[in-house]
């Protein structure tokens, strides 16, 4: 096809029209009222992040975050619509109003707090740097000259980008599966991920064993929701507090993490 100047102009004009048509998002009503009226709660959950969220052999999503989503749906008295997402696209799903809540082992940091709101913490989470025994690394400086696999947009990506030496080669993969595959197939020397993810890999007894080298950050999980939704935020916080008090949250922690909730949650 030959593009003449007229075609190009038409294309650009078309794009401009498309842009202006989508530029104005409609005024948002109260999200909690929307959820009640709709009778369903749409929740973004991880699909490749056991034990927080993964798809079982029967193709049904399961995990800590799915149980948490069902708990909140039950307390709100609405059905729960599970929307599987990846680390990289979970916040865009919320921003574009495809989901009401993000319960996707989401850590809190200053950058994210600028664009979305967070509930109180509902699950413990640590991330660190993992590698087989024969790789000698004990701190961030030790990553010099090594290749590190990490999931793009995850807390460990953002933290490592700040603390890793300039000659550390950070490879950012689209989702957790890509990061794990890259580590197991030897495409990277070390992997930065959550403690529970490394434990899940170890449980499968792989040829390359991700042993903890050092911790990057204590980063508990929070439920993410859109800004300016005080009613929904208050209701979610209330449900989390009640679940902590009556032991149902601790039961979820026992079921998926095999440990009691730590005192700081």
């Amino acid at each position: 096809m030959i593009l003449t100047r007229r075609h190009t102009l038409a294309l650009v004009a078309g794009l401009a029209v498309a842009v202006s048509a989508f530029a104005h998002t409609p005024a948002r009503a109260d999200a909690l009222a929307d959820i009640t009226a709709r009778g369903s709660l749409r929740v973004a959950v991880p699909q490749d992040f056991p034990p927080f969220g993964s798809v079982g052999p029967d193709m049904v999503p399961q995990g800590y975050d799915i149980d948490m989503a069902n708990l909140i749906g039950e307390k709100l008295g609405v059905s729960v619509e599970i929307v599987p997402v990846t680390s990289a696209n979970r916040i865009p799903y919320l921003q574009t109003n495809k989901v009401d809540l993000v319960i996707s082992s989401l850590g809190k940091n200053a950058e994210r707090e600028k664009v979305i709101d967070f509930s109180t913490a509902y699950a413990p989470f640590f991330n660190g740097v993992f590698a087989p025994d024969d790789v000698a690394v004990s701190d961030a400086a030790g990553l010099s000259g090594k290749s590190i696999g990490v999931t793009r947009g995850a807390v460990e990506d953002l933290e490592l980008t700040k603390i890793a030496p300039a000659d550390a080669d950070i490879k950012r993969y689209e989702d957790n599966n890509g990061t794990i595959s890259a580590f197991l197939s030897g495409q990277v020397d070390v992997v930065a991920t959550g403690n529970v993810v490394a434990a899940a890999i170890l449980a499968r007894n792989p040829p390359k064993r991700p042993e903890l080298k050092f911790l990057i950050k204590n980063s508990p999980c929070y439920i993410g929701l859109n800004k300016n939704e005080p009613a929904l935020l208050a209701r979610v916080d209330e449900i989390i507090a009640a679940a902590k008090a009556d032991g149902s949250l601790n039961a979820i922690a026992q079921k998926w993490l095999g440990a009691d909730l730590p005192a700081d949650i």
Binding site: I2, L3, L11, L15, E111, S185, Q187
Partner: protein, 223 residues
């Protein structure tokens, strides 16, 4: 609530975008040159070469044309290390593009070769040209001239398809867009900018290939 556009991140992330553009251009340059060369060789084998070689090439072409590019890429990058074949993400991405474009361009070039009138082969032979000389001067050049627009389109398709190499952490333009978006949370602005860059790259690539066609096949321009 009205969405307020914010492009202030552009200045901070310009180096990331430029690097991404550079990687995408590098991938398509290597992929196009080697992929089309591979395609021409395969087209010769299928159209005029020995039968056994044609059969091998046919298996390769059908295998590549009937499987998704992303799976081919994952197989090379994540699968082959199990057989001891380890390569960097850039090598894997280039190889996947060469292999992919090679298969498609094989079929395009073969169509051009098979459209060559029988008499043209005989004319070459009657001028005492060797089979190779006949292929090179009498068959291939007019064939390429015939299919050049189709081949150009395929190169642009592969350039746009190269967006998936970001999945294996090759830092191309799509990787740059995703990287920026996961830090500034400005999905609309980030992707509109990367869309416009891809659009500009595709138009430029088309014009470049058109100009290259005129240079390589000057007889066409004279018509």
């Amino acid at each position: 609530m009205t969405y307020v556009f914010d492009f202030s991140w552009l200045s901070d992330y310009l180096p990331v975008l430029l690097k991404g553009i550079g990687i995408t251009l590098q991938l398509i340059a290597v992929g196009a040159v080697l992929g089309i060369s591979l395609g021409i060789g395969c087209a010769w084998a299928r159209a005029l070469g020995p039968k056994w070689l044609g059969a091998i090439v046919a298996v390769y072409v059908e295998l590549i044309r009937n499987t998704p590019f992303l799976i081919q890429l994952f197989f090379i990058f994540f699968g082959l290390p199990a057989l001891g074949v380890q390569m960097s993400e850039m090598t894997a991405a280039s190889l996947a593009m060469i292999v992919n474009l090679g298969a498609y361009s094989c079929e395009i070039v073969r169509a051009g070769i098979e459209a060559t009138p029988r008499g043209q082969f005989e004319a070459g032979a009657s001028l005492a040209m060797s089979p190779f000389q006949t292929f090179r001067h009498v068959v291939l050049i007019p064939a390429l001239q015939r299919i050049w627009p189709a081949l150009s389109s395929q190169v642009v398709i592969v350039m746009l398809g190269s967006a998936v190499v970001s999945q294996i952490a090759a830092e191309d333009l799509t990787f740059a867009a995703n990287y920026i978006q996961s830090r500034n949370f400005r999905a609309f602005e980030t992707y509109i900018v990367s869309t416009l860059i891809y659009l500009a790259l595709a138009i430029l690539l088309r014009q470049l290939l058109r100009g290259l066609g005129w240079t390589l096949f000057p007889r066409r321009a004279a018509r």
